[in-house]
Symmetry: C2
Subunit: 184 residues, 2 copies
């Protein structure tokens, strides 16, 4: 069964320039950026609802994504659906005569399984199926927690800076109470 | 702010053929099909997670969707994001110099507001912004309830048929207990 749309992948010539539209102007949050060596791309993950926009910048010139960019220009590359049982889905595709790019799933980081369906079988859309594992879910949670911790630390440093600034302004016995009169 | 990916729209030459892949083979549920006169397309709505796949079949030959199909073939047409305030988003786009297809939102059924951003401003992706109204939400809920009622009625008719069938098979005093021995 299909659980949800996992992500929409968009090929861009240059990640920084793309982020200036998708993050700064449109306002999507940037979760993280990582290099995916298998496909030789840098990927930026931008969550939206329970799905993600993934921006792909090809690094080398030999990857499928690099060839897509050269041949078709920047734009939407594929849709990925999260499924509960990818092997069963591939059996269903084969039984229906749908041509597959991957006859068996590729195993990625954390044991996640990935397979692509050929656009000839879907009416012109490259479709990825994706089965997430408990290990991959934990890995993603840990990465998010890391990011939250970093943000919190940055806020603490920032807050400490502000407190330091105001402490510098105030002199003892200037008539204000202990908390500066701001809190009751 | 962007709330979520509302839908991914895919242009297909023939809705019935497309549904045989997206619904029968891939297993997405078909919520409903409607004709959208403004764009002269038949649209099938296939929910997935908190987003939807929308399949668009152009009816006339003069619409933007018909021209897209003729020029580029079947495939992904646009991504739509649900936003909380479309007017504010359009101001942000203009301030960032992003070219717009719709300078002001189109008002659709139930007061919903729609505007398209030009692919030149997004790096090759046609992006739709969509602000849903309380009236449109109620309309959609009513349509879903209608469908549930129809399904329930169909199941009742089906169940009545089965009960009728088994009643016909059993003759009084054939040694089976009242529920045919199937339930404890």
């Amino acid at each position: 069964m299909i659980k949800k749309i996992s992500h929409i992948a968009i090929v861009v010539p240059e990640l920084d320039e793309a982020l200036s539209f998708w993050v700064e102007t449109l306002g999507l949050p940037l979760e993280y950026v990582e290099h995916v060596p298998d496909q030789d791309v840098d990927v930026a993950f931008l969550p939206s609802g329970d799905s993600e926009i993934e921006l792909l910048e090809p690094i080398g010139r030999d990857s499928g994504v690099a060839r897509f960019l050269e041949r078709r220009g920047p734009g939407i590359h594929h849709i990925c659906f999260e499924v509960d049982d990818i092997d069963q889905m591939l059996v269903r595709m084969r039984e229906a005569g749908v041509p597959l790019i991957d006859e068996t799933p590729t195993i990625g980081t954390g044991g996640k399984k990935i397979a692509f369906i050929h656009p000839k079988g879907t009416g012109g859309v490259l479709v990825e199926l994706y089965e997430i594992t408990a290990e991959e879910t934990a890995r993603r949670r840990e990465r998010l927690n890391d990011m939250r911790r970093r943000l919190l630390r940055r806020r603490r440093v920032y807050a400490a800076g502000i407190i330091g600034f105001f402490s510098g302004l105030r002199t003892p016995g200037d008539g204000q109470n202990e908390n500066g009169g701001h809190f009751s």
